[in-house]
Structure formats: C-alpha cells, structure tokens
C-alpha cells in the first residue's frame, strides 16, 4: 500500500502541475495581432514663400519695393522660427511667381498652377500682394495646401504704413492658428534691462519678439533691472537703484509702468531690496522679494503698494528670492539657499508644502514656468559657468539646453531663461559673443538664434503674452 502511495502521489502531482502550466501558456493569444507604432517623429513642412507682389502703377513701384521686402523679411523670420516649416529655395521654383497672380489657374486665367508647386514637393504655398494708398497699406494673402489644392487661410489686412511689421506678424499668427489651432507668439514683446543707452546706466527696454521696435521705457539714469510683465501685457514692474532726495542714499525700489497710458508709480520702497517682481494671474497683485526684516523673503503686494501676506519665512539666515507664479496661479517656484547653496524650490501659493526640486549642481537660480505649467527652466552653475536647463515641475527629466564657448575658448554664460508665450521656444542671454546678448532656441536647444545684434549687454529678458 505504501509503495503504491509513494509512486502514485508524485505522479498525480506532476500531472496536475503540467496541466496547469499548459493551461497558462495556451491562454492569452488568439485575438488579432495589434501593433502600437508609438509616437511619431516630427518633420517640417516644405513651404514656398515667393516675394510679395506690389499691385499698383509701375511708376510708383520702386519706392515701395522696400515695403514689400520688409513684409517678406518679417513673415520669413516668423515662419522660420515657428519650427513648422522648411523653406523651398526660390531657385527650384518651376514657375516665375512674378508673372502669375496670387490665385490658382483655372479660376484666374493669369494664375499659378498647383501642379508646378506639387512637383517640387511643396506642402504649403503662401501667395500675397500689397497695395499702398496714401498712408494705408493693404496686404492680401492666400495660403494653399498644395496637395489637395485647398485654401488654408485667405485674409486681407489693412493698416497704416508704420504698422507694417504688426500686420505681417498678425498674418503669421493667423496662419499658425489656421494650421494648428494655436495662435503664434509673433505679437508678443520682450522687456529687458540693457546698458545700450550708454553712460554706464541700465534702463528697461520693450521690443518686439524679434528684437525690432526697441523702446526705452525708463530714464532713471541708474541701474534698472528685473522687469516683469503683467499677465495682460499692459504693465511692467521693475526695480531701480534710485537716489532718495532726503538721505542722498540709493535703494533698490520697485516701480510699475503702464504701457498704454505711460503712467509710472513707485510700488515699494522699503529699506533694502524691493525686487524680483512677478505678477499674480489675478491682475491685482505682485509677488516680490523684500529684505526689510533682514534676510530676503517673498511677500505678496497689491499694485498700489499695500503689503499683503508674507509668503516665505526663514529658515533663519536663509534667503528666499525670485518668485515665479505657475500659470494656474496655484504654485510658486523660487530660489533659496536654505540647504546651503541656492537651489530651486516649489511651494503652494500660500507658502505651504515647500519642496526642493533641484539637487544637482552648485547653484541653481531664476526659475520660470512653461505656459502649460508642466516644466520649469532655470540657470544652473556647472563647472565654471551657468547653462540653461529645463525639467519637469517635480524636478525630474532635467535637460541641458545650452552649451557654448566664447571666441577665446572659455565657456560662455547662458542665463535667465524664460519660455515663449506659446511654450515652443526658450529665450535667454549669453555672453558667447563677448557681451550678454539675447538668444532664442527650440525647447531642445536646437536652432539657436541671436535676437539682438550689438555690443551692448542685456539682462533678465522677460517674454510677455500675446499683446493685441
């Protein structure tokens, strides 16, 4: 009996086990094969942008050639930085755009032929002409999707000759909106502190995103720095070392300037620092750094200077500076040296729930949010210079954006990064040319381009939202 048992039991068990594993292996297949291909690479679309035609009497033509050329340059620059397009070289055009009208052939007898653009691989074709009547400029544009011979955008723009760049930028915004559903950033502006006025002073300048139309908005004849845009793009807050008439001492006081009205007022003039302004999305208050209590801490303040709550408090001897409110207004990034070295932290807008998010490097500063609130960009000290980095809002997935050397072979400083209002570009300063100039690149650091082209210095550029 025992011997039978000893033989039978293992056999039975073995049988059971094999049956079980058999059942497991044969399950789980049998349905149709399904393959997820995954995220696509992206590529630029081939775009043809022939010269803008002048419509009018030939006699008047020469003096308006430059107008057409400038419209062309603005559109070309906007569309090329949009990262959506690659331009087709005019030498490969199969038809002469100056001899065909801006409408397609069968409908317009003198029109262009889709076929001759299709053959050279054109995905989008932009045809435009302009007329000038007195001081009024009219730009008529058609953007075609060549493959299915359809019009993506057909629009006419009218304005004064002086608003030429604005008209061209508006067209580019409309084109991007028609294609992608998201408007471009071409009507946004930059506020920056610069010494380009000479005299050793730094004043605040406001300019178009492409560096043109620069306008000086301060004249303190002093060091003026850290401009910041209000969310509606009507105000700029900044700090200036101004002399006080009574004590004859200089203090870093905070001012606010309203662009449409030209109104300027003193917001905060407490002893010590009144700097690092950052607007709250409520269009009523700002966050700033005050050092009235000793070490710098972050406070909330109304536009008229009424002091609100103190957001950060200590630890003892630690500074808390450079507030940056997240786009949803719920979180704030800031720099603090509470751990010994300046690092990036985030917290709730009321100062609760403080989290350190950078651990690498020796010195991380100037945090700034992406418009979707998912990423932060900052300047990090690595080796012997600053470079621009981006990371998720929790500090993960850190990417180095910049890496450049000066003509003398030493590493250049790349600092003060901010996102573009559409979140597709980064702007920062770099001294790779010898002086601190403004640069723009894609989010991965590619397609770097210099926006300013002089030998002056630019500090802490800030990018506004689109300004209508």
């Amino acid at each position: 009996m025992k011997t039978i048992l000893t033989v039978l039991i293992p056999f039975a068990v073995a049988l059971l086990i094999s049956a079980n594993s058999y059942a497991e292996e044969s399950s789980g297949t049998g349905s149709q094969i399904y393959i997820k291909i995954g995220e696509a690479k992206t590529k630029k679309s081939l775009l043809a942008l022939p010269p803008i035609q002048f419509v009018g009497t030939p006699a008047a033509s020469p003096q308006f050639q430059s107008v057409g050329a400038e419209i062309y340059r603005v559109i070309y620059n906007d569309l090329s930085i949009s990262t959506y397009f690659q331009f087709i070289a005019p030498t490969s055009y199969l038809e002469d755009p100056s001899k065909t009208s801006i409408r397609p052939a069968p409908a317009d007898p003198g029109g262009f032929k889709f076929e001759s653009w299709k053959q050279i691989g054109t995905e989008f074709l932009v045809r435009a002409n302009f007329t000038i009547a007195g001081d009024t400029l009219t730009l008529e544009t058609y953007t075609y999707h060549v493959k299915d011979a359809s019009v993506v955008l057909g629009k006419k723009y009218k304005g004064s000759l002086s608003s030429l760049r604005r008209i061209a930028h508006t067209f580019c915004n409309d084109l991007l909106e028609a294609l992608t559903g998201q408007t471009g950033m071409f009507l946004s502006k930059i506020a920056v502190s610069s010494d380009r006025g000479g005299g050793g002073f730094r004043e605040i300048y406001v300019m178009d995103w492409d560096g043109s139309n620069g306008e000086k908005i301060t004249n303190h004849k002093s060091v003026t720095l850290s401009p910041s845009w209000s969310w509606d793009g009507t105000k700029v807050a900044y700090t200036a070392f101004v002399q006080r008439t009574k004590t004859k001492t200089r203090n870093a006081d905070m001012f606010m300037y309203e662009l449409p009205t030209g109104k300027r007022w003193l917001v905060s003039y407490r002893q010590g620092l009144n700097s690092g302004a950052n607007f709250a999305p409520d269009n009523k208050s700002i966050f700033l750094t005050l050092s009235q209590s000793g070490t710098p801490d972050i406070y909330k303040m109304a536009y008229d200077g009424t002091l609100g709550v103190r957001i950060t408090n200590g630890p003892k001897g630690a500074m808390n500076v450079e507030p940056a409110v997240s786009p949803d207004g719920k979180r704030m990034a800031f720099s603090s040296d509470r751990s010994g070295q300046p690092m990036i932290y985030t917290m709730n807008i009321d100062g609760e729930n403080i989290k350190r998010i950078t651990f690498a490097g020796k010195y991380n500063a100037t945090p700034s949010w992406s418009p979707d609130g998912k990423r932060l960009t900052f300047a990090g000290w690595s080796d012997d210079h600053f470079d621009v980095f981006t990371m998720n809002a929790d500090g993960t997935d850190m990417v180095r954006i910049t890496s450049a050397k000066k003509p003398n072979g030493k590493w250049a400083q790349n600092e003060d990064p901010v996102f573009s209002p559409d979140g597709r570009l980064l702007m920062y300063t770099s001294n790779r040319s010898g002086s601190h100039q403004i640069y723009i690149s894609n989010l991965d650091g590619s397609d770097e381009r210099r926006i300013t082209a002089d030998s002056a210095n630019y500090f802490k550029p800030k990018w506004s939202h689109n300004i209508e």
């Binding site: 059971l16 292996e25 149709q32 393959i35 995954g38 992206t42 590529k43 991007l176 690498a360 650091g445």
Partner: protein
C-alpha cells in the same frame, strides 16, 4: 548481563520501530508536498513575467544632447558618461554637490569591475534563457505528441472532411512560437516606426488612427484599409503614406504567413 542486550528480541523490535517511523515520515513528507502542490495548482498567484531590464545612469547635470548625432549612436555610451568629469556619478546624485572636476580613479575602477560582473551575469542570463528555451521546446514537443495522439483518436472515430480552418495552427501561440511572434512584432514595429514622421503642424493634435494591413510571405502589402479614422484627412494620409513607405516589411516567419495574409494585423498610429 549487558552483552545480552544483543538478544534477538531486542534486535527484531528496533528495526520494526524504524520501519514504522520511516513510513510515517514518508507519508508526512508527501502530505506536505501534496498540500503545496495543490496550493500551486489551484491557488496560484500572479504569473511571473520576465522582462528585459534597463540600465539607468543617473547623471547630476545632464549633458546637452548633440542633435546632429542620431540617437542610436548616443545609446551605447553610458560607461563613458559616468567616467566623464561631469558632476557626481550614478548613485551619489542627491544631496551632495558635485565634487568639482576631479576624477576619482577608484570609482572608475569600480565602474569597470561592475561592468565585468554584469558581463558574467549577462552570460549566465543567456545560458539560463537557452535552458528555458530548451525546456519550452521540450514542452511543446510533448504538447504536440499529446495533440497527435488526440488527432489519431479523432481520426479513428470519425473521418470528417476538414474544411480549411487554416488559421488554427498559428492562432494559438505558445512556447517558442510565442517568443518568435513577439520578436517578429517588435521587428515590424521598429521597421514602421522608422518611417513614421508627422509634419509638426499635425503633431500636437493628439490624433489617432488604426489601419488593418495584410502582408504576403515576402512582407509586401496585400491590402491596407482604415480601421479607425483619426477624423483628420491629412493625418490619415500621412499614416497611409507611412505604411506604403515601409513596404516591404521584414518577411514573416513561415508560421505567421497565414495569419498576416488572411487576418492581417492592426497598426495603431500612435496607438
């Protein structure tokens, strides 16, 4: 007398006790074995899944990615990265600040040793995998035998005319064919992914399309049709062009030809 202890009574009594205890022991052991066997058979937990491991290098401040280089070339460089004078190698990333640019030769050596060890481990893994494969194929052979037997019996019972159920042989994949199947799928996925590029203006719209494609034994496209449209003609167009560009796909293993040419496969762009 103490010597009388060797009396026949004593001698015959002890072996009996011994035999009995051995018997109990065997029964007890089998009982334990049986309990565990029943437990594993009827109350088995989650099946263990074997997936390939990924080596992760933590670098304190990441290097700028050189976009001129294709990403594939960047991949086999993690050893170099940790040896480069960039801050803090792998494990010691967090609270410590990077210790300037000095290289620590000991750490370097450690790194190399670790790599040597991981080579050994990899070899062992390979051997283990081969063993597993052998086991699987053996299992399969047994299954086939069982199936053959069953078929023989069936054939004896009723010689029914079988009407071309051509898919049955391939649709149930297990063991080695399952591995081959997974392998082939990842080859096809990789192959098509190489050609999968969207114009930037279409990329951020979160569009999705599914295409049913049939391939012949050489990987040429027999047919392709939209199974689920993205709703955007331009997007569907790019997806179709991607498939056309990808033809021919790598030739499928003989076993899957029938599945691929009759049932086809569903391709999700991007999922």
């Amino acid at each position: 007398m103490s010597t009388l202890d060797y009396s026949p009574e004593g001698a015959s009594g002890r072996p009996d006790l011994f035999k009995q205890s051995v018997g109990y022991s065997i029964i007890f052991h089998f009982l334990v074995f049986f309990i565990f066997a029943v437990k594993t058979v009827f109350f088995s937990g989650e099946p263990i899944r074997y997936e390939s491991a990924i080596k992760v290098d933590l670098v304190a401040m990441p290097d700028k990615i050189d976009l001129a280089q294709p990403i594939a070339e960047l991949e086999p460089a993690p050893v170099e990265k940790s040896a480069a004078p960039t801050p803090a190698p792998a494990e010691k990333a967090p609270p410590q600040p990077p210790q300037s640019t000095k290289l620590n030769p000991k750490e370097l050596k450690k790194d190399i040793d670790r790599d040597a060890i991981s080579l050994d481990v990899a070899k062992k893994k390979q051997v283990a995998a081969m063993e597993k494969l052998k086991q699987l194929s053996a299992l399969e052979a047994i299954e086939k035998d069982i199936e053959n037997d069953a078929n023989k019996k069936k054939a004896q019972e009723k010689p029914k005319p079988i009407k071309g159920n051509v898919l049955s042989s391939g649709s149930e994949l297990s063991g080695v064919s399952r591995l081959q199947h997974d392998n082939y799928i990842s080859i096809v996925e990789h192959h098509i992914h190489q050609n999968w590029a969207l114009p930037e203006w279409l990329a951020k719209k979160n569009l999705k399309a599914q295409i049913r494609v049939r391939f012949d034994e050489n990987g040429n496209i027999l047919s392709k049709d939209i199974y689920k449209t993205s709703g955007n003609p331009s997007f569907d167009d790019v997806v179709m062009t991607t498939i056309e560009k990808s033809a021919p796909v790598p030739a499928p293993p003989q076993k899957f030809v029938k599945i691929l040419s009759v049932e086809g496969i569903l391709l999700g762009f991007p999922e």
